[in-house]
């Protein structure tokens, strides 16, 4: 097992199963009145978020706290990075406080790999540029397992800006590791070059090709990449050609989206609010999976009854 979670591939198929099974154990904790266990008591988790984030940073913070770890969150606007400190020096400085885990979100691809090279702490990649977002992949996979009986053989279509999506990159790989059949659909200008070779998935510019998918994974259109010099003529035309709404879906097709959503662009308003759409279930699973990831990196053994805080242990 890798000491870090930089790429979803660090886990391997067995690691994926292990973290997902662990997530099930922590899901049970959420049914209790006091949703907190002592598993990581005395451990220190630093969340270093140098790029905007709501759900990832919040869920990591809550995940750490529910495991009784001491959690410190550092954000871009309050960090010395604003004073021109290099990422390497920031990591080295944090390292002197001997944290057990550093969770890092950064705008540049390769930031988590750098952190893993220089830090003694376990590094969790919470999104580095357009490279990877492995905990998103885990929560997606966990959600898929809740909805579908089997991941193996499941047909999944990722729709939209595949080229710039770290979510697509990690989640496609994770689904494939458990045997899902994955494809990508999007405008020709937003499909990755040599995508078939790169991602082991069929690439299509034809939205009609989602028809056989059991699951349609809608990717966020990144406003900041559009406009002059962007990749599509307009968001209006994008919505017209690739936006997912009820009329584009076949009966029984389920829909996921990592959020934040652009209502009316890549996904229709009505579809976001449809209870069958899995956006909020994904978000809810985020903290569970992140509990499992933190636990997996810091305690590579079965949790004891005491660590899980079972009622019996609590009672004594």
């Amino acid at each position: 097992m890798s000491r870090h979670l930089v790429s979803i591939r660090d886990l391997g198929g067995d690691g994926l199963e292990r973290v997902l099974d662990r997530t099930d154990q922590f899901a049970e904790v959420m049914d209790r009145e006091i949703k907190k266990v002592p598993s990581l008591r005395g451990r220190v988790v630093v969340n270093l978020f140098l790029e905007p984030s709501t759900r990832t940073s919040t869920s990591f913070e809550i995940a750490g706290k529910r495991l009784s770890a001491d959690v410190v969150t550092v954000r871009g606007s309050s960090s010395s990075v604003e004073k021109g400190e290099s990422l390497r020096d920031t990591i080295l400085t944090l390292d002197t406080y001997a944290p057990d885990v550093i969770v890092i979100r950064h705008k540049a691809a390769g930031a988590a790999a750098l952190a893993a090279r220089v830090s003694r702490a376990a590094i969790v990649n919470a999104g580095d540029g357009t490279n990877e977002h492995p905990t998103q992949a885990l929560l997606d996979l966990y959600t898929v397992r809740q909805i579908f009986e089997r991941v193996s053989g499941l047909q999944v279509a990722f729709v939209g800006d595949v080229q710039h999506s770290r979510v697509a990159r990690s989640s496609m790989a994770a689904l494939q590791m458990l045997g899902a059949d994955v494809m990508a659909v999007g405008p020709p200008t937003l499909l990755p070059v040599e995508g078939e070779d790169a991602l082991g998935a069929e690439m299509s510019a034809d939205i009609a090709d989602i028809e056989d998918a059991d699951l349609v994974y809608v990717l966020r259109m990144q406003h900041e990449r559009q406009g002059p010099g962007g990749y599509v003529p307009s968001l209006r035309e994008y919505a017209r050609e690739y936006g997912i709404n009820h009329s584009r879906l076949a009966p029984g097709q389920r829909v996921m989206h990592a959020g934040p959503v652009n209502r009316g662009v890549e996904i229709s308003d009505a579809l976001v609010d449809d209870p069958e759409t899995l956006v909020l279930q994904q978000a809810a699973n985020g903290q569970l999976v992140r509990m499992a990831v933190l636990y997996d990196l810091l305690a590579a053994k079965e949790p004891t009854a005491e660590e899980l805080g079972t009622r019996e242990a609590v009672a004594t």
Partner: protein, 440 residues
Amino acid sequence: MTTQAIARGRLVQRAGPAVSLVITGARVLDPASGIDEVRDLVVRDGVIGGDPDGLDQVGGRGLVVLPGLVDPHVHLRTPGREDTEDIASGTRAAAAGGFTSIVAMPNTAPPVDSAAVLGSLLEIAASDAVVPVGFTAAITVGQEGRQLTEQAELAEVGAVAFTDDGFPVADARVMRLALQYQRLAQRPIALHEEDAALSHGGVVHEGANASRLGLPGIPGVSEAVAVGRDAILAEREGARIHIQHVSSAATVAEIARAKARGVAITAEVTPHHLVLTDDVLDELDPTRHKMNPPLRGAPDREALRAALVDGTIDCIATDHAPHASEEKDAPFEEAPFGVIGLETAFAACHTALVRSGAMELELLVRRMSADAASVLELPAPSLADGNTANLALWDLEEEWEVGSAGFASKSSNCAFTGAALVGRPQLTIAGGQLAWRKSP
């Protein structure tokens, strides 16, 4: 006898004692001069040949004497970033790699775009350069691509060639003016070919690895379209151009087409593009693997090797580009481009090309010595009697691990760090002076 600080052609070296020694029983190999025999080689007062009597002997049995290597493309970071390399350390690194002539690029701070800056560099070289070094000057003022530098004066002061390496000339009219003005300046124009709009912030080769890792790509055609344009302009103006660090198969095809129709065009390729592909990117380690042009795919590498063998690409150049480790140790996407190469160039090519059977040793020596000299119209080192000694004594069987004993360069951002290479100079004589000797 002591030589003066000397300008040999446009190359300058510090003054120092002329070496006298005899290398005994080595294979003396200089394909450009038609020499390949096992014998003693005499250097007396810095000149090859003469009477061996009374000279120090260097055992050469089982070793090979090669003509000094020539590098038409290095960055010596002087002036401005002497913390990462200076003329003394850069020329020492050259000597440690068997090079006896190198040519520095002008993208310094300030850039070499005036006779004053060029003159000061020549002065520093005359006191610090361990091997003869030449300097290029910028094509445009500030390398900004707008206004030509004073190229007649720069050529007179000693510019080897003109180049905006690192900042390709985007404006076709400015490029055309530079090519026309060459009729006055009379020096080669060396071109870093890249269409910045097509490169669009890319950091690695655009291809399956970039797509898998989510790194923005630099397409091979970004280089090829620029070469296409400039070959057409050079043809129109009857100008002489040299294409720097060719990296893509599409570019090789453009150069072949231009040569076939008689354009005065030459080209170089780096050892890292000949040896590595973008399959190494998985580690996301910019210190070793981020450079521009980027490491490309296997089909590109095969095209480069074939072009080097058939002469479409004329020579090898290192694009030795030192960077401070704290700048390189950054997120891949944000780290600066460039790797050092002087100390590993020959060994890497010898290991990956010659020992694998992809290329004859004789051809590699030509491509790194006589042919590398000719692209920028420099004197070619020769092992024939009567020539100034520019040579290295190589153990072509010695295996060594790159970086394990540090580098002579001030920087250590080498693409081959950790690799086991075969072939290492035992001593290097440059400009008739002992420039480097391997510590026992």
